[in-house]
């Protein structure tokens, strides 16, 4: 196209793209995320009640439930089921701890062919890594703030 037309079209193009872009259906996505994410929470609650009925103290029961849910997330990832559910659930499968397991197990599986050191070992946290870095960093900061607040407000 000629220079003048090119300049004109490049300016108009953003509007053309915005007008043409198909949008995700936010309502549909939210309903799926709510229902499937809620089901995952129900499963977590079920295990919590189960462990409590075994007489596990309330302070510790969270660790037990987290362990089971991480296992389930990892297991379903290994079976190739988790991503098929996530296609519909979106945030509903990413936000719960099962999604965290999926984000670690899926690269571990994917990069196994590059070996256990430079493949699995190096790439395992390629998605979860940032979550860990900023999660741990922010918990340290919050901890320091908490310490001073407690120190001064007695």
């Amino acid at each position: 196209m000629e220079k003048k037309l090119e300049k004109q079209l490049s300016e108009e193009f953003k509007n053309m793209v915005d007008k043409n872009n198909p949008q995700s259906s936010i309502i549909k996505d939210c309903i799926f995320a709510f229902v499937i994410g809620g089901l995952i929470c129900d499963i977590g609650q079920f295990f919590m009640n189960l462990f409590l009925s075994f007489g596990i103290p309330e302070d510790n029961v969270g660790f037990y439930v987290a362990t089971v849910m991480v296992f389930l997330g990892a297991f379903l990832t290994g079976l190739g089921i988790y991503d098929n559910v996530a296609k519909y659930a979106g945030a509903g499968t990413i936000v719960p701890i099962t999604g965290f397991a999926n984000s670690i197990v899926s690269p571990a599986m994917e990069f196994k062919r590059e070996g256990y050191i430079l493949g699995v070992g190096a790439r395992m946290f390629i998605i979860a890594g940032p979550v860990l870095v900023y999660g741990i960093s922010s918990s340290v900061i919050v901890g320091i703030i908490y310490y001073f607040i407690k120190y001064f407000v007695k």
């Binding site: 490049s10 197990v105 599986m109």
Partner: protein, 338 residues
């Protein structure tokens, strides 16, 4: 003097090379699509009996090239050059295939525009009298592209509606200085165009300006209008990019809407196969051309087509550094008779 040059970006081939044979190998999903019957080999296992997706993709290229040569009753020793490229880092699919084939090899990188890039260069090297038999090939693989450009296969993420599905497929075309057609008659080489799209999940939009520019330039250089062709088909703009390309070409003064489509829209059933905006990848225009279009030309259902493979010249690094996505498109005119 460049006697074969026409206008600014086009070459008119004086001794148009004939496409002797083509071969296609695709994955199972492509085989289930609307064009499945036109592919030579549809794999039931996308690993193709190999240990990794990369090895599978390279084997697809190698076997597609061998098949095209076999169909013409030739041997790799008879082939003067092979032009091939793919999406993987350092184009390993192509060069590792060439390692086995032992055909003098030019490796290309044009992202998904590689099919017409390789056809362009093959045609010119034959027309120039430097070769009698040349292979033009390319490949892409959904799984190898995902792990390089996006996420692990089992990662649970959602794809936006503008995203496209990388075709698992390899196509090879055997061009010759003699033969009874279809012939490659014109080559219009694209410029790199960038209208500032940054969304790597909307590559159709990023490539549409390049496609429109090359189509407009082809008409200007040759003096043809859209009616000259039975079909104008871009490589992998998908549904979103296709609409944008029509609009851009219209603003340039030509209406192509009634004879125009996109390989990325044709290869999959967009409503049934969960591919969102359509297909992408080097293999997309490769298998649609080498499979479906070549056979339609042979049978006389099309007489003249303009094939414009489109490439998004981004890398994960350039995207992460906030660069916009440059696009490129190369056009080749293929005619049943000259």
């Amino acid at each position: 003097m460049a006697v074969k040059k026409l206008g600014i970006q086009t070459v008119k081939l004086m001794n148009p090379p004939s496409i002797l044979e083509t071969a296609t190998i695709t994955g199972s999903k492509e085989g289930e699509g609307p064009l499945g019957q036109y592919f030579d080999v549809v794999l039931s296992d996308d690993l193709y009996g190999e240990e990794s997706w990369e090895k599978a993709e390279s084997k697809m290229t190698r076997e597609a090239v061998k098949l095209a040569i076999n169909k013409a009753n030739l041997h790799p020793d008879n082939i003067d050059y092979m032009f091939s490229g793919d999406l993987l880092n350092q184009i390993i699919s192509s060069s590792f295939a060439a390692r086995e084939l032992q055909i003098p090899f030019f490796g290309l990188y044009g992202a998904c525009s590689t099919m017409t890039e390789s056809l362009s260069l093959s045609s010119m090297i034959i027309d120039g009298g430097y070769a009698d038999y040349v292979i033009a090939a390319t490949s892409s693989h959904f799984a190898s592209a995902e792990r390089q450009y996006r996420f692990p296969l089992e990662y649970g993420g959602q794809r936006p509606p503008t995203s496209q599905w990388t075709v698992t497929g390899a196509g090879a075309a055997l061009l010759s200085s003699s033969g009874s057609g279809p012939y490659i008659t014109y080559v219009t080489t694209g410029r790199v165009m960038d209208f500032g799209v940054k969304d790597a999940n909307n590559m159709g939009a990023a490539m549409a300006p390049a496609a429109a520019d090359t189509i407009l330039r082809h008409f200007k250089d040759t003096g043809f209008n859209p009616a000259y062709y039975d079909l104008i088909i871009t490589g992998d703009l998908g549904k979103v990019g296709k609409e944008l390309a029509v609009e851009l070409v219209k603003k340039g003064g030509y209406d192509i809407s009634n004879i125009y489509t996109d390989c990325g829209v044709e290869i999959f059933d967009l409503t049934e196969q969960d591919v969102h905006s359509g297909a992408s990848g080097c293999g997309c225009s490769a298998v649609v051309f080498c499979g479906y279009l070549y056979k339609q030309l042979k049978e006389g259902n099309f007489n003249r087509i303009l094939l414009i493979s489109t490439g998004a010249l981004l890398s994960p690094t350039s995207s992460q550094q906030g660069e916009s996505i440059p696009g490129i498109a190369h056009a080749v005119a293929i005619e049943r008779s000259v």
